[in-house]
């Protein structure tokens, strides 16, 4: 029984990580219809940003959020404005460009760090709770808490603010939104920036948990794609719930089947969902078709 509870806990905590990484990806995916292959690298940049902040000014990774998240927001805005904006109606070229960005970022960090791996020390990661035989680390609990806060905050923002409403309008129909006087390009820039900032947030929160490597983004990105497709395009709660589903599947498959095959398990679920319900669990039916329609 305690093994079962342990597995559930591991799944929840993993789910928190995947959810956090996926929400930004899904925002970009849902609104701009871009498959951002470099999202995992944004997470990686966030982690190294936390390390850099620790190295230069000696701050705790949780404090470095104040610097890292705005920097990644700006970085995302620049990328969207100068690389992705010109490719708005070129779906093939978008994939091409974001993959180029992936190679560029990953190997730039590799070239600078020369493949050395780092960890950021924080006193908080030493704190562990013991709940009936289940051990929880505080740094993972913070991730879990953050994903809830981000999901609630983002869905509130999208529902109740004028900017959020314009984002939703652009998601539904680019052309009509433009006719209503919404600056579509501006909305895209903000959305992409927000997506990158969320990846940066995920990175800083994960920095104390993982050992950094330039290739670490790859661990998250395919999981994040699985989450996004599973949860539903453009849906914040879809990414939130999808993260937990994928995390649970990974934890259960890893414990009860074989730790080496845990990834196969969630890929299988991912592919089955993609086939049975391409719009995802929480996505609007036919949303995947909208993404393919020519929009100007």
């Amino acid at each position: 029984m305690s093994a079962f509870i342990n597995v559930v806990t591991v799944g929840l905590l993993l789910g928190g990580i995947y959810g956090l990484v996926s929400i930004g990806l899904n925002l970009i995916f849902g609104v701009i219809r871009i498959v951002n292959f470099a999202q995992g690298e944004f997470v990686m940049l966030g982690m190294y940003g936390a390390y850099l902040a620790y190295l230069l000014i000696g701050v705790d990774p949780y404090v470095s959020i104040l610097v890292v998240v705005p920097s990644l927001f700006l970085f995302g805005v620049v990328v969207q404005r100068f690389i992705l904006q010109p490719l708005q109606n070129e779906p093939m070229m978008q994939v091409f460009a974001t993959f180029g960005l992936l190679l560029l970022l990953q190997n730039m960090v590799l070239a600078i760090t020369r493949g050395m791996s780092y960890t950021v020390p924080t006193p908080l990661s030493q704190v562990h709770f013991d709940l009936g035989g289940v051990s929880l680390s505080l740094s993972r609990l913070i991730v879990l808490l953050s994903v809830c806060v981000v999901a609630i905050g983002l869905s509130w923002f999208l529902k109740h603010t004028l900017l959020g409403k314009s984002v939703r309008a652009v998601t539904q129909d680019r052309r009509s939104a433009r006719l209503m006087g919404i600056n579509v390009e501006w909305t895209y820039m903000l959305t992409f920036g927000t997506g990158a900032a969320l990846a940066g947030l995920a990175g800083t929160l994960l920095a104390p948990i993982y050992t950094m490597s330039p290739q670490i983004g790859g661990n998250f990105i395919v999981a994040a794609f699985a989450v996004v497709v599973l949860g539903g395009l453009g849906s914040v709660w879809g990414a939130f719930a999808g993260g937990f589903i994928i995390g649970m599947i990974e934890a259960f498959a890893g414990y009860y089947v074989n730790p080496e095959l845990k990834h196969v398990a969630w890929f299988l679920v991912f592919i089955i969902v993609l086939i049975v319900r391409p719009s995802g669990l929480f996505g609007v039916m036919g949303a995947e078709e909208v993404g393919l329609r020519e929009q100007n």
Binding site: I83, L104, F270
Partner: protein
């Protein structure tokens, strides 16, 4: 085949366009022959230098693989990222047959092609319900699953430790002592892929594939069996890719999951080479490979040693720039430049 011109081959080649304005397969054959002669000449000239032979072998092999990918990815518009899987099927199958049964890799080409075609059909039959980027993401997942499985089933693949093929030189083993033979081998495979690709491009299957790519619903409405067309194109493309895997395995004589199934090195590379050269054109993938593979070798040799990953930084930047400024690839850019020159000349 829309063969309206009854002229003998050389004359139709001189005209380059037939009466209907459509280039026929015969014309493409003449072009392929010309390309083959030029490439053979270059290979011959450089034959004394093993360093260049290595680069040429890789260039020809990746040109062939990109040409194979282009059949379904370019003509058919199905953005497959899972071609590394078919590549790995070919390599592992040839390796196993060679090590366990001493079967000549030349013979292994046939089961490799068949196995990959069947695998492609099984994988893509459900996935073809997805379109565009969604198909791409799903095939990306397939590729990742294959990576995990290749590591897991180590009795078949050698797992993470990899699989070494013993060095026993000889034509029947497809293992040669001089690199010139390998370059010729890869060039032969490239020409074979170009002929198959050219045949598809200029015949019914190719036109159907292009119709499906441009507008699937319209293609369906005009009576094309969309699923059948996509499956045929994919199976053909996968079979060629697996044959490339056989050649690759026998060239390196060491295969492991990262060399066969890594996305940036294999799966995405086929697509990038095609895109840079000109996706959906017959010679685009070849042009892309001629440019990208030697440049990569050069960069790896010059900056890869002192700066880890340095050559991939440059490659990443090149990709971004190409996607921004070279949207139809090099072949597309040359074509539109040529057309604007002609338009100016004819008023």
């Amino acid at each position: 085949m829309s063969r309206t011109d009854t002229l003998p081959m050389p004359a139709s080649a001189l005209k380059a366009k037939s009466v209907t304005g459509l280039t026929t397969f015969d014309t493409e054959l003449v072009r392929i022959a010309a390309v083959a002669i030029v490439l053979l000449g270059c290979t011959w000239l450089l034959s004394g230098q093993p360093f260049y032979m290595n680069i040429l072998s890789y260039t020809f092999l990746f040109a062939a693989l990109a040409t194979s990918w282009n059949i379904i990815g370019g003509y058919g518009g199905q953005f497959s990222l899972a071609h590394g899987v078919y590549f790995a099927i070919g390599a592992y199958l040839a390796g196993n047959l060679y090590i366990r049964f001493g079967l000549s890799p030349w013979i292994a080409l046939v089961p490799a092609a068949l196995a990959a075609a069947i695998a492609a059909a099984l994988i893509c039959w459900p996935l073809f319900r997805l379109k565009g980027k969604f198909f791409g993401i799903a095939t990306l997942a397939v590729s990742e699953v294959a990576f995990v499985l290749a590591n897991y089933f180590d009795s078949l693949t050698g797992g993470p430790r990899g699989m070494s093929l013993p060095f026993k030189a000889g034509f029947s083993n497809m293992i040669f002592t001089n690199r010139f033979s390998y370059a010729l081998l890869m060039l032969g495979f490239l020409i074979f892929c170009l002929i198959v690709s050219g045949f598809v491009y200029r015949t019914r299957l190719g036109y159907y594939l292009q119709a499906v790519r441009d507008d699937q619903d319209a293609a369906q409405a005009s009576g094309i069996d969309v699923l059948y067309v996509k499956m045929t194109g994919m199976a053909l493309s996968a079979a060629l890719t697996a044959m490339g895997g056989v050649f690759f395995a026998l060239y390196l004589r060491f295969i492991d999951p990262p060399t066969l199934l890594s996305l940036p090195d294999i799966g995405v590379r086929f697509l990038l080479i095609s895109l840079i050269g000109g996706v959906g054109t017959l010679f685009g993938p070849l042009v892309g490979a001629l440019l990208i593979v030697p440049v990569e070798f050069y960069l790896r040799a010059t900056i890869g040693g002192s700066i880890p990953g340095g050559h991939l930084v440059v490659l990443g930047a090149v990709l971004i720039l190409c996607s921004l400024f070279l949207k139809r690839g090099i072949v597309g850019a040359v074509e539109s430049a040529w057309q604007s020159i002609r338009r100016r000349r004819h008023g």
